[in-house]
């Protein structure tokens, strides 16, 4: 994960919030048959929120570290996993 990297959200992803949980609803189809819905936990929701096409991954990480009771290692792990998943479903670009 390059700290200087800037990611942006796929605009074809609708974000909704229910019960303080972020739900991602892709308006493109992953395959002909499958309509997928993705739900993000609290830290993941915050990371998603911070991805704005301007902030670097380093800045996002800094924010998360400040706001959550977690170590840098834990945040790195959480972010790496989340970004991999988001890329896989084409939710983020860049």
């Amino acid at each position: 994960m390059q700290d200087s990297k800037i990611l942006r959200k796929n605009r074809d992803m609708v974000t909704r919030t229910i019960d303080k949980e972020t739900i991602l609803l892709p308006i493109y189809r992953i395959s002909d048959d499958i309509d997928c819905i993705y739900s993000l936990n609290k830290p993941a929701s915050r990371i998603w929120e911070l991805i704005d096409g301007k902030r670097t991954l380093f800045e996002i990480k800094k924010n998360v570290l400040r706001e959550f009771d977690a170590t840098a290692k834990e945040v790195d792990k959480e972010m790496a996993g989340l970004l991999k998943d988001l890329k896989e479903v084409k939710a983020i670009l860049g």
Partner: protein, 488 residues
């Protein structure tokens, strides 16, 4: 349930006990099959034309008959059943011993007058005479050709299908005189003998070769292609093999693989057709080649049938979708609720013929143009699709509309209910309107739905998903699907 699962289930149901006897693709084989076809299609891209919503792949011009077929104005008249050949791929019952009566779409036409009246009533622009081998009933064929030509003049295009075994110069002259425009030879049924084709190319305006794509004949067809180009033949049609109850055993003996699609097409046949087109392009064969896939036939030919029949049986408040089905919209509920909906439609001065309350006073059906007047925060929308079907006569007690062809002859049309489902959320109903009535792009309609669906809690996600699935299912009856479908 997803589309793929639904299709597999439908095919299983359609062919019943035969299903386990046939070879189907495993998931892994299916991925390989799709990849193999994709590679072939990629090698053809920019070198072929895709017509009729990308359902037909061809090089050069399509024959007038194919254009008429694609536009939905083709009548295929099976003038007889007996044949001179015994092809392993024949989709019909070759054990038949007695000649049958002329038949189109399951309707028997014993005389030319009734058939001509039928062609006029349903606005056909072309007739293809098939069989059996139509030249076995040569006099009858001439009678039908003559009658239709006399009645419609140049406004109709006429062609026949033959294996060529009974073709001679005299017959060709008489066919031409009777008004035949095109003759199509299945040379695979006659040992790839090109002599009758060459004779026809001199006598009839358009001589065409129309063969099934038989994997083991690939090399033979390649050789024929070079000769056909010089013979005066104007088109080559290669069609995909389909399994029927009469040929599936022969196909299984040849280890063909079947695809889950309504007409049970053969995978290897599609690959053979695409390989032949690729070879022809690579070898600069200028003869126009048209691949007539099963999916084209299912989608375009059936759409044509539906579009011809639907106007006769739809109610005024119902509409015909872009794929030719009849769409019916309704609000159901308690009589007092239905009364309220009716009152609103009256207050808005909606035309009487565009809405109707049923006898039980629990349902009001209406034209999509009236959707905007109905308050869907309080009502659900019931969406139904029907397929119009031509029948000789209805079963006792069956509702069917009588169509008079002339004072002596009637045929009937019935509306078969395909699906009846309810959209419950205002967002889904508005998305339905945007997607299918306003023809908004799918992405935009999905975006609208996801942004506006009322989500109160996590449980609501399940309903949201279900409503979106339903909207996507409706696409089957609303839109004509594009391109070759996934193979599985």
């Amino acid at each position: 349930m997803q589309n793929k699962e639904l299709n597999i289930m439908q095919v299983r149901r359609q062919i019943g006990w035969i299903y386990p006897e046939l070879k189907w693709l495993t998931e892994e084989e299916s991925a390989e099959a799709n990849e193999k076809r994709q590679r072939l299609l990629q090698s053809l891209s920019h070198k072929v034309t895709y017509s009729f919503a990308e359902n037909k792949i061809h090089t050069g011009k399509l024959s007038p008959g194919c254009l008429i077929c694609g536009a939905g104005y083709w009548s295929c008249m099976f003038i007889n059943g007996l044949c001179t050949a015994h092809c392993f791929f024949c989709p019909q019952d070759r054990k038949m011993k007695e000649e049958r009566l002329p038949e189109e779409d399951g309707i028997v036409f014993e005389n030319t007058q009734d058939y001509a009246d039928y062609l006029e009533k349903f606005n056909f622009k072309g007739v293809g005479f098939s069989g059996g081998e139509p030249l076995l009933v040569f006099d009858k064929l001439l009678e039908y050709l003559g009658k239709i030509r006399e009645r419609f003049g140049d406004k109709i295009y006429l062609w026949i299908y033959t294996n060529g075994s009974l073709v001679n110069e005299d017959k060709l002259k008489r066919l031409k005189k009777a008004g035949l425009n095109e003759i199509r030879f299945d040379i695979s049924a006659n040992n790839y003998d090109l002599h009758p084709v060459e004779l026809a190319a001199k006598a009839i305006d358009t001589a065409t070769v129309e063969i099934p794509a038989i994997p083991k004949d690939y090399e033979i067809v390649k050789k024929c292609l070079v000769k056909l180009e010089k013979s005066g033949v104007k088109h080559l049609h290669i069609h995909q093999l389909n399994a029927t109850e009469y040929n599936y055993k022969n196909f299984s003996e040849r280890s063909y693989t079947f695809i889950h699609s309504p007409s049970i097409p053969v995978f290897e046949s599609e690959i053979t057709a695409l390989k032949l087109i690729s070879w022809a392009i690579g070898n600069r064969i200028s003869l126009p080649i048209n691949y007539c896939s099963s999916v084209y036939k299912n989608r375009l030919q059936d759409k044509g049938k539906r579009e011809r029949c639907a106007p006769f049986v739809r109610d005024e408040f119902e509409e015909i979708t872009r794929s030719g089905y009849i769409r019916s919209l309704a609000v159901s509920g308690r009589p007092e609720n239905i009364k309220k909906v009716a009152r609103i439609l009256q207050e808005r001065s909606c035309q009487d013929n565009l809405w109707q309350i049923d006898d039980t006073k629990t349902k009001v059906s209406f034209h999509s143009g009236l959707l905007k007047y109905i308050d869907f925060s309080k009502n659900n929308l019931t969406v139904s699709y029907f397929c119009p079907q031509l029948i000789s006569a209805p079963n006792p007690g069956e509702a069917a509309k009588e169509i008079s062809l002339n004072p002596r002859r009637k045929i009937f049309l019935r509306k078969e209910l395909l699906i009846c489902q309810r959209l419950t959320s205002a967002a889904a109903i508005e998305s339905f309107r945007k997607l299918f009535i306003e023809n908004m792009r799918e992405k935009e309609a999905r975006s609208y739905f996801y942004r506006n669906y009322e989500l109160k809690n996590r449980q609501g996600l399940e309903s949201l998903k279900k409503e979106m699935e339903l909207l996507m299912v409706f696409k089957t009856w609303e839109h004509l699907e594009r391109g070759l479908p996934e193979i599985y």
